[in-house]
């Protein structure tokens, strides 16, 4: 137990946790949106994120990005990366919906069947990017798929620098960008769901599918929309991840997805603002916990948090709702 270390650098650990949690929160949105409308856990959402990171990787390789480009170029690469990752992840999420979930919904399958299908899909994607694509595309895209199942590095777009220090807390440029970008994406989504016509449709279906259908909301379109929106958020998370950590692997989705799901449950699954709160909270708890014990216990902390939350407050911090509370 390293209490002194934790208390002495409390500010620093909090900042680290926030920037980590921001990525969890972005991925958590995908779980929350789908759950809010369909009451299903889209277990394959973690792979939607993974596809996004590979899209960024391939884009940057094709553009011939080198380490530490000038600022103007760096911004261009990031914006392009965001677009490509969002397109790839959104497209993947939509494909999952069309190919796998829709036939099951037609048959009114029990929730567990959805979950098992999603697990199968997740396995298929992990293997596609770990085995099949490296064999098929290893010659064409050697930087991305050269070594099956291995960690692939990406160029450093922004050199990590300390921007300013408050007390003994240093805040780096990357942490600031990750946090601000993630919160901005979430604010955008929140605005979209709460203020636009499409968002109203989403809330209506979440609240009561039959009545929404009677009022002329196209349910199928709403379902497609939420999958795409969740995918776009996962794509944004993929870009921020690539920028901050600079690597990807076919299996990164698994643990990250579990943590994002924990974040969603923690904040109240189905609740957009809850996902933000849950993500940030989980990020902080994890960094504190890793400091207190040792960093190799980090993953255990997230799962213990999940079990404790489900035991004592299964509706999460802010309660389950998408449209329900404020319709």
């Amino acid at each position: 137990m390293h209490f002194d270390e934790l208390i002495g650098h409390l500010g620093q650990h909090t900042v680290d946790g926030l920037s980590k949690g921001a990525i969890y929160a972005l991925i958590a949105l995908g779980y929350t949106l789908v759950y809010g409308v369909l009451r299903l856990i889209n277990f394959a959402h973690s792979e939607v994120f993974m596809v996004g990171t590979f899209a960024v990787l391939i884009l940057w390789n094709q553009l011939g990005v080198e380490n530490n480009p000038p600022v103007g170029q760096a911004i261009l690469f990031l914006v392009l990366g965001l677009l490509v990752a969002a397109a790839a992840s959104g497209g993947t999420a939509l494909a999952l919906e069309r190919i796998a979930y829709r036939p099951l919904r037609r048959k009114n399958a029990p929730p567990l069947i959805f979950l098992i299908t999603a697990i199968g899909l997740s396995l298929v994607f992990v293997e596609l990017f770990g085995q099949v694509l490296p064999k098929l595309l290893g010659g064409v895209l050697p930087e991305a798929f050269g070594r099956p199942r291995q960690i692939v590095g990406m160029p450093t777009i922004i050199q990590q620098e300390t921007l300013f220090t408050i007390g003994n807390t240093a805040i780096t440029n990357i942490q600031l960008i990750v946090f601000v970008a993630a919160v901005a994406m979430m604010a955008l989504l929140d605005w979209f769901i709460n203020r636009t016509r499409y968002g109203r449709g989403v809330r209506a279906v979440a609240q009561n599918p039959e009545t929404a259908a009677l009022m002329g909301v196209n349910q199928e379109r709403v379902i497609m929309l939420i999958f795409v929106l969740g995918g776009i958020m996962a794509g944004a998370a993929a870009l921020l991840w690539s920028m901050r950590f600079g690597f990807t692997q076919n299996s990164i989705g698994f643990v990250l997805g579990l943590k994002a799901f924990t974040a969603a449950v923690l904040g109240g699954i189905g609740n957009l603002r809850g996902a933000l709160l849950g993500g940030l909270f989980l990020g902080i708890v994890e960094v504190y916990g890793a400091t207190l014990f040792a960093s190799n216990w980090e993953d255990v902390i997230a799962f213990v948090v999940l079990i404790v939350v489900l035991m004592f407050r299964p509706t999460g911090l802010l309660g389950e709702s998408l449209g329900r509370a404020r319709a």
Binding site: A109, L112, L115, I116, G120, A213, L306, L310
Partner: protein
Amino acid sequence: MIDKIRSADRRRVNMLTTVGDRWRALTKWQQALGLAAFVALLYYLPLLGIPGLTWLRTDSIEGGNNWAGVLFVCAIYVLVAIGLNVVVGLAGLLDLGYIGFFAIGAYSVALFGSVNSPVVKWIQQEFNLPPTWAVTWAICLFIAIVLTMISGVLLGWPTLRLRGDYLAIVTLGFGEIIRIVARNATGLTNGPVGISAIPGPEGAPSPDNKVFGLIDAKPWYWLAITFVLIMVFLVRRLERSRVGRAWLAVREDEDAAAVMGVYPFKFKLWAFAIGAALGGLSGFLFGSRNAFIDPTQFNANLSILFVAMVVVGGSGNMIGVSLGAVLLAYLPERFRDFADYRWLVFGLAMVLVMILRPQGLIPSRRRARELKDRAAEAEEAPAHV
């Protein structure tokens, strides 16, 4: 294409039903004779030599045929499938952390039975025992079952009140926690170094062991298949008892079951504990056959493989899940050249089975009817999602 698969599938199901009906039409002693012949065949299997089917190349043993070794793996996977079937198929609880129980079973024989384990060393020191002392195999078996049952109850107690899909994710987390604890708690489990010299029925592995050696897998298979047969018998008795009917009731409609006086939580906890004990037994056999374990042998993919065995085979039907287990254990060994793709194939198989026939290859008749009912309800009320 899909229509073709569907019609072939229908013909297969018809054949299965015919076989089933014929079997039930036989007299009692005919059935007993048939079963006895089947059991005899099971024991004879490792001696069988059919080119193509039983020739499984390996470089690690003399003669290069690992048929008996693969049969042993099939047998312990069948044990897993039977245990998981109690949880998933009968009680309807999706458990994605089954590898956790398997690992606890394997670690209990390692920690208490091996002279290299920190636990045994600690006991030796405390009680001034000779350095060759360790808990005997048979007592380890008892410890493994008790420990896994306790861990099943400990995991189930807080989580079984949750909705089904939450439970799935929590159990997935549980499996990971067990693995990470095994990796990090070096003082207890030797961490990534692993534990060697895990005993078999004859004691610690040594060249003097006459029957249960490292090379010849046949005795191990016979041991495992004996456990399988005992467990099949016991679980079958359980399935057809009041407990089994309570499980089905809880699976099909928890509220209705509660109204009828079946307390769902109690029976779910029972299913969890019994399932866990079977997983632990399987892990126990795995540990003592391997004689060496480390945390990397228990990763989360295996939990998913276990679930795949149950759902592909036909959850709720013991013959179905056993077939699923044998297929998923045997095929990757048979088609070694495609071993890289085996997880891809497992994933695809799970998706296809779920979309095309969610009741599995050999369905439980009851479960199939339940799914049909739901589909019919969906057609009556299309707005219901």
